[in-house]
């Protein structure tokens, strides 16, 4: 009798228990991750304005048509997104390669240096943006003070397109370079020294060794870093939102000069409560991210490995 029960318990344990252990992940992810994203597509086909009483009217592809053909703010935001993607992703990878190269020596107190380069990554994006907004202040910011010391003029960083993108890119690059540098460093340490010795015998300079040996050897990590940097940098929101001190507006500057697509989504969804329109922006941003990620993947793959 009890043996029978034990037998049954054992069978249940081997056959069904594993599903019970993995079920919480799948259920919670389906409910709060996957479902909302898919439901976004449904909402994007509706005229759904919370301020108008949350009545949903089916409008088909109207939201998309409006965004793509009649909305200059949307194209402005997409342009800013692409500009910021380029200005953040490329320097991030290049600086990370340089820093990794510096760290890849027998340095003393290397833990200090490694932790040091990772420090920016553990600070919150809100705090970083607020600190940088102060540093880039027009009248009393440290950056302008230094520029003046070197005889350059003051820059009203928030005011222009190029200047605001530069300042925002600085925050992102500052926050993420060290993380990528550590990933590169780990792979650099796996490159066998015999390869470098052979190159030295052939008379290759340090610079040549770096570009001809180190970088090609790091190809998988460079692809990895490019892909994750791209997916992150295509949806910047906190930086352009908080870069504008003293205003709660989600417009990304007085002329929307640094409003990203993610910020435009936020503005339409949670400042104007136009849920249908915001959902259409979300899906267009998903598509744009997939396209740009694919492109940057192909670009990173072109690193020669011969």
């Amino acid at each position: 009798m009890s043996g029978d029960w034990r037998e049954r318990r054992h069978r249940w344990d081997t056959r069904y228990a594993p599903y019970a252990y993995i079920a919480p992940y799948f259920l919670l992810f389906a409910a709060f991750g996957l479902f909302p994203l898919l439901y976004t597509a449904w909402v994007s086909l509706q005229d759904r304005d919370l301020l108008a009483g949350d009545a949903a009217t089916w409008v088909g592809l109207d939201n998309y048509v409006r965004l793509l053909t009649e909305d200059p703010y949307f194209w402005n935001a997409m342009g800013n997104t692409l500009s910021l993607w380029l200005l953040t992703t490329v320097p991030q990878i290049l600086f990370a390669l340089g820093i990794a190269q510096l760290l890849n020596r027998r340095i003393r107190t290397r833990t200090v240096f490694r932790m040091g380069v990772l420090l920016p990554n553990i600070t919150s994006v809100a705090a970083v943006t607020i600190i940088f907004a102060q540093l880039f202040g027009r009248d009393f910011g440290l950056v302008n003070w230094v520029l003046e010391l070197f005889g350059a003029g003051r820059v009203d960083w928030q005011a222009g397109t190029a200047s605001s993108h530069t300042a925002i890119a600085a925050m992102v690059v500052w926050r993420w370079t060290g993380y990528h540098a550590l990933i590169f460093l780990a792979s650099m340490q796996a490159v066998p020294t015999s390869v470098y010795e052979a190159a030295r015998l052939d008379g290759a300079s340090q610079w040549q060794q770096f570009w001809r040996i180190t970088v090609p050897m790091l190809r998988p990590q460079i692809i990895f870093s490019t892909v994750i940097a791209t997916t992150g940098n295509m949806r910047l929101l906190a930086e352009p939102l908080l870069f504008n001190p003293g205003t709660a507006a989600a417009t990304g500057g007085s002329d929307r000069q640094f409003q990203t697509a993610a910020l435009y989504l936020y503005e339409q969804g949670f400042a104007k409560y136009d849920f249908g329109y915001a959902s259409a922006i979300a899906w267009l941003l998903v598509i744009a991210t997939v396209l740009v990620t694919g492109l940057s993947y192909l670009a990173a793959r072109r690193i020669r490995t011969d």
């Binding site: 228990a17 992940y25 976004t40 990772l118 990895f224 992150g232």
Partner: protein, 294 residues
């Protein structure tokens, strides 16, 4: 909006461990100089935040700027707690991040154990699904998620921030990789011979063995939850903030008093900074083993 863990990845960096001492180039003085410059650049904004938060407002708006900390840090801290909801924000952030951390570690070790050590139909396919879900930009589902939270009556309340964070694909995969390497099958077989059910195995064998990896996962998860910005900003209200949304409210006031704002930023950074100073070595190790994804 990108935090430590929320970046999806579809290319994992294969990283080998260094086995023996290699003839790496010896660093010259220029290398050290460059490294110190990098270190200074990394630390400066955090230092600057401390400088501003220890000054009076008129010292901050001054040319040339004051570059060393002043004596008003505690006065500014008191002002932050007096004039804003920052005390509540700290408690809320602690509750949110603590709950999410416990939950992520628990569910990740449980599912990671099943994926690494138990046999069941569809295991590999389901694991692939877990890996693939890391690449899904779920952040962009905010609109329906907000509608769901409203329907549940959680808009403006902490469960709205906690519940979507209770599991992560990354955590499951991370623990699965660890168990695969670190827990020998023989150990589990021995337990089974003694008549242990899988749940008892999990509790008495797997969980104790998971401690080092679970600690790193916990640290990472806590920092990520603490720093999370976008979703809390969307779903919470200024009267019931987390640290990050309180910072946002402060920074978007009509007059920006930078001593106040940066003091709040400094206070909000101290908990993760302390964790980082204590356990930074483990976190650096995790990233360099290619296990921790940004």
């Amino acid at each position: 909006m990108t935090t430590l863990l929320d970046r999806p990845s579809d290319v994992a960096p294969p990283v080998k461990h260094r086995r023996r001492r290699r003839a790496v180039p010896l660093p010259g003085p220029w290398t050290y100089a460059a490294l110190v410059a990098v270190l200074a650049g990394s630390a400066f904004p955090v230092y600057w935040s401390l400088v501003v938060s220890s000054q009076t407002a008129d010292k901050v708006d001054q040319v040339p700027p004051v570059l060393v900390p002043g004596g008003h840090l505690f006065a500014n801290i008191a002002r932050v707690f007096d004039t804003t909801e920052f005390g509540l924000a700290l408690v809320n952030s602690l509750v949110v991040s603590g709950t999410i951390t416990l939950s992520v570690v628990f569910f990740s070790t449980l599912a990671g154990f099943a994926f690494a050590k138990l046999r069941f139909r569809g295991r590999n396919a389901l694991l692939l699904v877990v890996i693939a879900t890391q690449a899904i930009p779920t952040e962009l589902g905010v609109i329906p998620l907000y509608m769901m939270m409203s329907d549940l009556g959680w808009a403006g309340e902490l469960p709205a921030v906690i519940v979507p964070g209770l599991v992560t694909a990354f955590g499951v995969f991370f623990m699965r990789q660890y168990f695969e390497r670190a827990v020998p099958d023989e150990l589990l077989e021995a337990g089974r011979m003694d008549g242990c059910s899988s749940l008892r195995l999990y509790w008495h064998v797997v969980l104790p063995a998971a401690r080092p990896a679970a600690a790193v996962l916990g640290l990472f998860t806590f920092m990520q939850a603490w720093n999370d910005f976008f979703w809390p900003l969307v779903v919470l209200v200024p009267e019931n903030p987390t640290v990050q949304t309180a910072l946002s409210t402060l920074a978007s006031g009509y007059t920006t008093d930078y001593t106040l704002v940066l003091t709040a930023a400094t206070i909000g950074t101290v908990p993760v900074l302390a964790m980082f100073l204590l356990f930074g070595r483990q976190i650096v190790g995790g990233i360099m083993q290619g296990a921790l994804k940004g």
